[in-house]
Amino acid sequence: MADFQTPEIREYPLIPHIKPGAMAHSKPYLAKPDHQASVGFPGELVENWHDVAVAKLGELVSKSRALQVFLDICVKCGACTDKCHYYLGTEDPNNMPVARQDLLRGVYRRHFTFAGKYFPKLVGAIDFTEEVRDQWYSYFHQCSQCRRCSVFCPYGIDTAEISMAGREVLDAIGVGQKYCNEILGKVHKVGNNLGLPGPALIDTLEGLEEDVKEDTGVDVRFPVNQKGAEVLLITPSADFFAEPHIDGLIGYGKVFHQAGISWTVSSYASEAANFSMFIGSHDNLKRTAMRIREAALELGVKRIVVGECGHAWRVAYSFWNTLIGPFDFLDPKYPAPQHICELTYDLLKRGALKIDKEANDHRRITFHDSCNVARASRMGNMPGGQFIIPREILKTVANNFFDMAPETIHENTFCCGGGGGLLTDDLMELRVKGAMPRMQALKQVVDDNDVNTLVAICAICKTQFAKTLPYYKHSMNMITSLHHVVGDAIVLGGKD
């Protein structure tokens, strides 16, 4: 076990006093030269790193209105200072969104603004020294890019944009993060984050078909590379093998089976995740997404459906049309792309699925809104559909549903603590501490409503909770997939 203390859950949430430097030691492993090469960055710290970094920062700002505006207009009002789960959990003031931004804003001001060039001390402009570079590496890897701060900022300043830019600058001078960059290399080479090759994927899904047949006596299929299927399912690769993700995949399979929709996954594009977003790399973002367009064309599908994954849904919903659209080759009757929850919700509303709610009576369920779904995308045709649809599904397939406190759900949701490219064991202390605000809200529904099931629709949330729940004295089995709950309630077989 690690050498840190799990934060205490108090009776009421409290805004902590600042403890400068409390998390200055937290740093993820550096990417090795071959990880860096696979995503197009220098293998190690370049010699003239200061100048390269400043030039890169200038280039990024000139290409992004968001950065340009966000770096100029913060008035330091303090509204965001108590909104970040990492600040609340670690008490390190550099984890206050504005202070995190200022690490980059200070350098920007120093080199690109009149006041910063001539009166640096007055306006808090700083040079990009070795010490500042270390702070960037540490604190831009203590931001899960969850956008909670941007909800509360009077100008919508989004620290995610800043930390993405910070990581992009660091990558450009050869200081990459191992976890993200190694994984991206695997996607480029093999097609998924796990580096699971095509034959292994086919093997895994065949095994899954046998398991489901054994459990239910029904031939639910999990097809791979099936040309002419109606739906291409793009899902996080964790769904193919890890608990509790795979129970969600079984749920998708049962939904497709009962609705009579032919579907397939692609071994070429067997990954919904796109970690390029976390490191702010446009080239990698587009390159990773392009595999999906190619697979959809190759397989001749009519729809693309995205499985349970938070940042992947942001990339799919908000960016795909821009990066790899237009989707004029898909059936215009359906949104492109469509979330698996949108698909299931429509089927449930039409009565196309036979449901046995009582099958879930042993569960007392609460729902964790994943940040990228909640604050960076949508489901359905009305604002906030991303909150309504998953909850309506849960209430349709189960009898016992309880929401957590309103200031911790919907667009106010607290990150699981592991998003934004931080889901790695070398950041365990950060992950456990960052989970604290969510654990606080969870404890309340556990105490008040005997909740025993925490449902999420994000692969990162599921993995993060499975790992951190025990630190807060909950069972790791408490976390599961939304489509696990759906799948358990679906009555397979002929319709009446």
Binding site: I15, S64, Q68, N321, T322, P383
Partner: protein, 238 residues
């Protein structure tokens, strides 16, 4: 050179810096592309919805209200009071005075106190709350001090030591019609005007850019329709 000439020239210079400086920033904001869709959701699905969202941000500071009631109270109080005070000041540069400026007059007279109260509250938070103290640069304190000094010197002229307001109006109108008139030499007035000039000079290089900048914030001004309308700009258009 007489005091009047120096201040006349300073006013022209400050106006040029303010107008050109802010126009330049607005030009930069508008021509810098926003390659991806990044509205903070739930976001409006239509342009009229965005106008409504933005109107609420500008008029009642909706996000700030959700965020922190104290900052909202002090901040909103200050901005509304400032708006009233600015409207009231139009009487010194219009002849005849616009009819609605007369309506504002009774509120504007007291708004100076509200402005001061708001600024005082914000400054108190900056000193007392450890989180806000940590993120404050010297310029953040000085900006509040500058605004408070402007308010105090203005209020002092209204309630303590009256200046020759008719002569001041003559000076201001003279500036506008390039027919320079003498500026009354009242020390409070000179202080007030000097501080306002300073504010005008630093506006385009300071955080006061939040006023025009807010309208360009992509998380607030984008419509949530990426699946329906293909958005491309900058690098994403290539």
């Amino acid at each position: 050179m007489s005091l009047s000439v120096i201040y006349a020239l300073l006013f022209y210079a400050a106006t040029l810096v303010l107008v050109i400086g802010v126009a330049r920033k607005i030009a930069i904001y508008s021509k810098t592309p926003q390659p991806l869709k990044i509205p903070t959701t739930p976001a409006p699905l239509t342009t009229s919805g965005v106008v409504w969202r933005m109107a609420k941000e500008v008029a009642v500071f909706q996000s700030l209200f959700k965020s922190n009631k104290w900052i909202w109270l002090f901040g909103w109080l200050f901005h509304v009071a400032l708006a009233l005070v600015l409207m009231r000041h139009l009487r010194y540069v219009t002849e005849p005075v616009w009819f609605w400026v007369n309506w504002v007059q009774p509120f504007g007279k007291y708004a100076g106190f509200a402005m001061l109260a708001g600024l005082g509250g914000l400054w108190l938070r900056r000193i007392v709350v450890d989180r806000v103290r940590y993120i404050s640069s010297p310029s953040d304190h000085l900006m509040l001090l500058l605004l408070m000094a402007i308010a105090v010197s203005g209020l002092a002229m209204k309630y303590v030591d009256h200046t020759d307001i008719v002569a001041l109006k003559g000076f201001m109108l003279g500036l506008m019609y390039f027919d320079w008139q003498p500026l009354p030499g009242n020390p409070l007035l000179i202080t007030h005007l000097s501080l306002v000039l300073l504010l005008m000079f630093i506006f385009p290089i300071s955080k006061l850019l939040h006023a025009p900048g807010l309208f360009f914030s992509p998380t607030r001004n984008q419509t949530d329709n990426p699946r329906e309308v293909r958005h491309v700009a900058g690098w994403s258009a290539k």
